[in-house]
């Protein structure tokens, strides 16, 4: 996180009263310490959001700390399998691997300094640290950032034995909720409007990025940003674009990266390039990690932003697109319907033809596109900015022991 960013910098975006309320909530937590525990300080969405949340919460006056668990490569291979299994992928996990998970957790239980009044545990890797609750008590919250709507039952049953000992869980979508004896709160992910990926950019910066990638600045631009993965349906996007291009002069940009831990992504990229053939209006951009400003510029230059995924988590790329007031066309999967309310904040589709139809509607009616984009930005403004995530967490910390529906603080 940019160290110069202060919580007050969000005032022009969310309003003074919003920041005042955050301060009021933070004040009520004074004297308490919140300890975050996850598996890494860098890399991955959880580390990214914590690197922004922890300083901001401290600026608000809450004593928030952050520790990570340690483990060898084998341990993280097991947790990767657990992660995939929670996503619904069938993973062969042996009893020895479950034992390794428990052994590593035991080592961490001895090493970690659990000095906090509220222990905020992120994702499945450190979930079994709850064993410490028997010794030290205190409030324990499990923050699950991943989609557990259709988990592999064996893995879920294994993890559930730990989850049920927490005081509460925090989930990213209503359909992730499970039948559990503990309270489950809904707190969707968020984006940081001041980050390089989302901050305002001057027109010259946008223009220079378009020139860098050889894109036509005068032709409507349809964009999908995602890593090259079959689940993002890049071939479906090309097909929808080709249907639209019969009647509208436009260009398509598929921009993303190939993940080193995903051997399939290189293959997907090759297939996508092959499918695009020599079409001069289709641009396949393999963007290296850390190109946040390039992505920001591409999104700002786009006429329409697509996310035609076959399966999706929350889809923060959609949140980013909406924040830039862009009309979006996206599949009604995962967390996308939470953000894209059909015909209000964007257009939802269920097929290639449906996607093409939605693209045509927006290209033919720019005012409609602008209206959708405006609504989308307001929707993100109210629900998916980092300040809202901070507020949700503060509220969970403050009301953990209150069971009423109406709480006077």
């Amino acid at each position: 996180m940019n160290p110069t960013i202060n919580v007050k910098d969000y005032e022009p975006i969310v309003g003074k009263s919003y920041i005042e309320e955050l301060s009021m909530l933070a004040h009520r937590l004074s004297g308490k310490t919140v300890l975050n525990i996850n598996s890494t300080f860098a890399g991955g969405g959880v580390a990214e959001i914590l690197s922004r949340l922890v300083p901001l919460l401290n600026q608000l006056g809450v004593d928030v700390r952050w520790q990570i668990i340690s483990g060898d490569t084998q341990f993280f291979e097991v947790t990767k399998k657990l992660h995939n299994a929670l996503h619904g992928k069938v993973e062969p996990i042996s009893d020895d691997e479950f034992s390794l998970f428990l052994e590593t957790t035991k080592g961490n239980l001895d090493q970690i300094d659990f000095s906090g009044d509220i222990l905020f545990i992120h994702d499945p890797q450190p979930v079994a640290l709850i064993a410490k609750k028997g010794d030290i008590g205190r409030n324990w919250i499990w923050r699950c950032h991943i989609d557990i709507s259709h988990p592999d039952s064996r893995v879920w049953e294994f993890l559930k034995q730990f989850v049920i000992n927490y005081d509460a869980g925090v989930l990213s979508s209503p359909n992730f909720a499970q039948e559990l004896p503990i309270r489950q709160f809904f707190a969707p992910p968020s984006i940081d409007p001041l980050s390089d990926k989302n901050r305002e950019l001057p027109a010259e910066a946008v223009g220079s990025v378009l020139a860098k990638y050889g894109l036509n600045q005068d032709k409507p631009l349809i964009l999908q940003i995602s890593r090259f993965d079959w689940l993002k349906d890049p071939l479906g996007v090309i097909e929808a674009f080709e249907l639209v291009r019969k009647n509208f002069a436009c260009q398509l940009v598929l921009a993303g990266g190939t993940a080193s831990d995903d051997p399939e992504s290189g293959e997907v990229l090759e297939k996508v390039k092959e499918r695009a053939g020599g079409n001069p209006d289709i641009h396949i951009l393999d963007i290296p990690p850390g190109s946040d400003i390039d992505i920001n510029a591409l999104q700002r230059a786009a006429t329409i932003i697509m996310q035609k995924s076959l399966r999706e988590g929350f889809a923060l790329t959609i949140t980013e697109a909406l924040w830039k007031a862009k009309p979006v066309v996206a599949s009604a999967v995962g967390g996308i319907p939470l953000q894209v309310k059909n015909k209000l904040t964007g257009l939802l589709c269920h097929s290639i033809e449906g996607a093409a139809y939605a693209l045509r509607q927006i290209l033919a009616n720019p005012d409609y596109g602008r209206w959708l984009g405006h609504n989308g930005r307001e929707h993100v403004h109210q629900h998916f900015l980092i300040t809202r995530e901070i507020r949700d967490y503060l509220l969970v910390f403050l009301t953990l022991e209150r069971k009423e529906d109406f709480i006077n603080l």
Partner: protein, 458 residues
């Protein structure tokens, strides 16, 4: 004998100065009568209060100054040695300067008090202005005396200039504030008790205007001290004196909310109806109000979650329309609202043979709304303060006092109307706000409409 002889020889040398002295004295009496009569007439025509001050302060001294003048002329026409004439002349001139200066100080003090009091300038500013004037007169008088007595002027002037510069440096911050304080009060831009708001967004009741700063008590109860010159450089909206004070102040609260997942879901109408009967009120409340908070930017806002789901996931357009048309505003309790919704669904189910299932992933998830209410520092004692606070409180605060007060706290109407009627006696205004159907407006529109209604009363 010696004296008589001396007088006999020198009678003319004595008589001439004495005659000159009395001559000047006689002329002064005549001059005083003429000039003061003219002055009195002139001042009387202008009906100014300064005549008494000027006349009473100078009538006596006028004569004394002419006595000194007479003595000076008499001295000059005498046969004394030139060095004695010079010495006597300087003594008389010194007496005149000191006397004239003293009268000038008295006069200036009285005139400054008269004018600045009339302009309602702060006491401290009056004292400061008087002191500065007096010091200036004394310094000028002393400089003239020194010049008269032949003292070396250059070092004295250097010292005087240095002293002035040091004084300016020491008072460089104070002086602009002093002048600004003077302007603020003289031009009657603000007065103690006025409710003001500044361009920076701060505002409150003016508690005190000192010669350097203005003290403002904000709507949150904090004290802001603003240097007067800063105040003069900014845009001020002055709402004037305190209007009618409420019998009890309105304390604004704010409401934040958490969404708790119940883990319950429905994939068809029967499940929806059955779950609806068993879930807590807070769940029904959430699904009939989430649109108000979540789609504040849309006009008109979408309908309740049940109608949306029935249309989007199940494709029952007629039922969706019936559910959407339920007027939440009509129901005094969540329980009554729940009964209505389940009744509509069951009526529809009774006429439907083949129930539709929602596509996988499009199930209805029951969510509970946990309201967290906190007091804010904002307190309104009158209608003007109420409007000013209403402009700046969060949407959560507005939401709490309008929606939750009525339906969740079972109050007869919204909090604003209750306070306006009971504590301010604004019955008509209260009724106007009560009649507003808040479900038909975005929260920002609602805020604006209430403000406009209140402003009409101001």
């Amino acid at each position: 004998m010696v004296i008589i002889d001396w007088l006999r020889v020198n009678w003319l040398n004595i008589a001439v100065p004495v005659l000159v002295f009395f001559g000047v004295f006689s002329i002064s009496l005549w001059l005083r009568r003429i000039s003061y009569n003219a002055l009195e007439r002139w001042l009387k025509e202008r009906k100014t209060e300064i005549n008494t001050i000027i006349i009473s302060a100078t009538r006596g001294p006028f004569l004394h100054w002419f006595l000194i003048l007479g003595a000076y002329i008499a001295l000059q026409v005498s046969v004394l040695e030139p060095q004695w004439k010079s010495l006597g002349g300087r003594i008389l001139a010194s007496i005149f300067i000191a006397y004239f200066g003293w009268i000038l100080i008295r006069l200036s003090r009285e005139l400054i008090h008269l004018y600045l009091n009339r302009a309602k300038v702060l006491d401290k500013a009056i004292v400061a202005t008087t002191s500065i004037t007096q010091v200036t007169i004394i310094v000028i008088g002393v400089l003239i005396l020194l010049e008269l007595w032949g003292a070396p002027m250059t070092p004295i002037l250097i010292i005087a200039i240095a002293a002035i510069l040091i004084t300016i440096l020491v008072f460089r911050d104070i002086f602009p504030n002093l002048v600004s304080g003077f302007q603020l009060t003289q031009q009657k831009q603000i007065k103690t008790g006025d409710l003001i708001s500044l361009k920076s967004g701060e505002g409150g009741r003016v508690e005190e205007i000192t010669w350097r700063n203005t003290r403002i008590k904000t709507l949150e109860g904090n004290i802001i001290i603003i240097p007067n010159n800063k105040l003069m450089q900014t845009t001020i909206i002055n709402y004037g004196k305190q209007p009618k004070v409420a019998t009890e102040p309105f304390e604004f609260s704010t409401r934040l909310h958490l969404k708790e997942l119940t883990g319950l879901s429905a994939s068809n109408l029967s499940q929806l109806a059955s779950r609806l009967k068993e879930v807590p009120d807070a769940v029904v409340y959430y699904h009939t109000h989430s649109f108000v908070e979540e789609y504040q930017f849309l006009t008109p806002e979408p309908t309740n979650d049940f109608a949306l789901w029935v249309q989007d996931a199940l494709g029952y357009d007629i039922l969706a329309e019936r559910l959407a048309s339920i007027d939440t505003f009509e129901f005094p309790t969540v329980g009554a609202l729940r009964q209505m919704i389940t009744g509509v669904i069951q009526d529809f189910l009774a006429q439907t043979s083949n129930e539709r299932e929602a596509p996988l992933g499009n199930e209805f998830h029951f969510i509970k709304s946990i309201s967290i209410v906190m007091p804010t520092p904002y307190v309104a004692h009158d209608l003007q303060e109420f409007v000013n606070i209403l402009r700046r409180v969060s949407i959560g605060s507005l939401y709490f006092h309008i929606f939750e007060a009525r339906l969740r706290l079972q109050r007869v109407t919204n909090d604003f109307s209750l306070w306006l009627e009971e504590c301010l006696g604004e019955k008509e205004l209260a009724e106007q706000i009560t009649r507003l159907d808040p479900y038909n407006y975005t929260m920002e529109n609602l805020r604006e409409i209430i403000i406009q209604l209140c402003e009409k009363r101001l």
